[in-house]
Symmetry: C2
Subunit: 162 residues, 2 copies
DNA sequence: TTAATTTAGTTGCACATGCAACAACACAAA
DNA sequence: TTTGTGTTGTTGCATGTGCAACTAAATTAA
């Protein structure tokens, strides 16, 4: 079997591309572990609950009076219903959110953020904001930050079908 | 209080930089969830153990006869000792690794990969490789891949003190 | 209408993870 | 030597997460 020079060249380029992708993947894995861990640690040592709680509170805070159905939250927070159900349990135990029976669908309930929940989110934000500054804003140039956004967008678009 | 124009401009730039960092952070968080989930799912549906097992096997496979102390593995895999201890339990239960008493340090043991472990890693690789291709190599240009590597390196260097 | 199917959410069980306490050893100082 | 201190690794307990089975209500079809 005899490959044309162009075909050989192309094959080599593809192999090289894959090699580079593997390097990038390993670094991506590691940095995600490290950065998330840093942020979680900062929240915890300030006496706050974990990131997942903030995520949930933020989504609810964006829908002032209305609240959100559980499945709506699930779509935004990328959490499957089993875990979401129990995450809400925890927040409800702390009176940060409230389950209200849904009057248009007898199966479900509407989740609403409480006053306490609003305060909690507000209180967490400065710590969270500072953590983001430390892990993203400080180590990177503006150009790199923009580039990171682009790349993550490209990675996500491929796999999120809305 | 009167700010000089340059000072104002600088403050605005910094605020903008932070805003961009926050956007990038959210996307990074999401992509972590989505991409890892895709890779894990691919491994699982091919009947293989999770990524963390692969990581461990890979590190051990790189030290042919010698094996590694647990704390050495911990440094490379970014896993705290508690969890590492139990991860090794699981792999040992499957006869993929083996704990051998360390003859230079009575406290510890040396972890060695078994033949079965070597085979397992080899068997997992094609699936893993293909998954990386799908989540990184395919959606990105070579330029983007290089850029991703750079950025992740910059993020990590900041926080890993070796 | 009744019956079959889908969807929303919860629960039981198994497993994974973080934290703190612990046992066993190494190392250094007195 | 003994004593104290740090290191390596394990274990108990509480919490978090994935999977499958389940309830109950909505939806569709007959």
């Amino acid at each position: 079997m005899h490959l044309q020079p162009d075909a050989i060249k192309l094959a080599l380029m593809e192999k090289n591309r894959q090699k580079k992708a593997e390097t990038a993947w390993v670094l991506l894995l590691r940095s995600q572990q490290v950065l998330i861990d840093i942020v979680e640690t900062k929240l915890k040592s300030a006496g706050f609950p974990p990131l997942s709680w903030y995520d949930l509170l933020l989504e609810l805070d964006r829908e002032p009076g209305r609240g959100l159905r559980q499945y709506e939250i699930g779509e935004r927070v990328l959490l499957n219903k089993h875990n979401l159900s129990r995450l809400i349990d925890r927040l409800e135990n702390q009176a940060l959110v409230q389950r209200v029976a849904c009057n248009t669908d007898g199966r479900g309930n509407v989740i609403k953020i409480t006053e306490k929940g609003v305060h909690m989110r507000k209180a967490m934000w400065p710590i969270y904001e500072q953590a983001i500054q430390e892990v993203i804003a400080n180590p990177l140039t503006v150009k790199q930050i923009d580039s990171l956004t682009d790349i993550m967008g490209a990675l996500l678009n491929r796999h999120i079908d809305v």
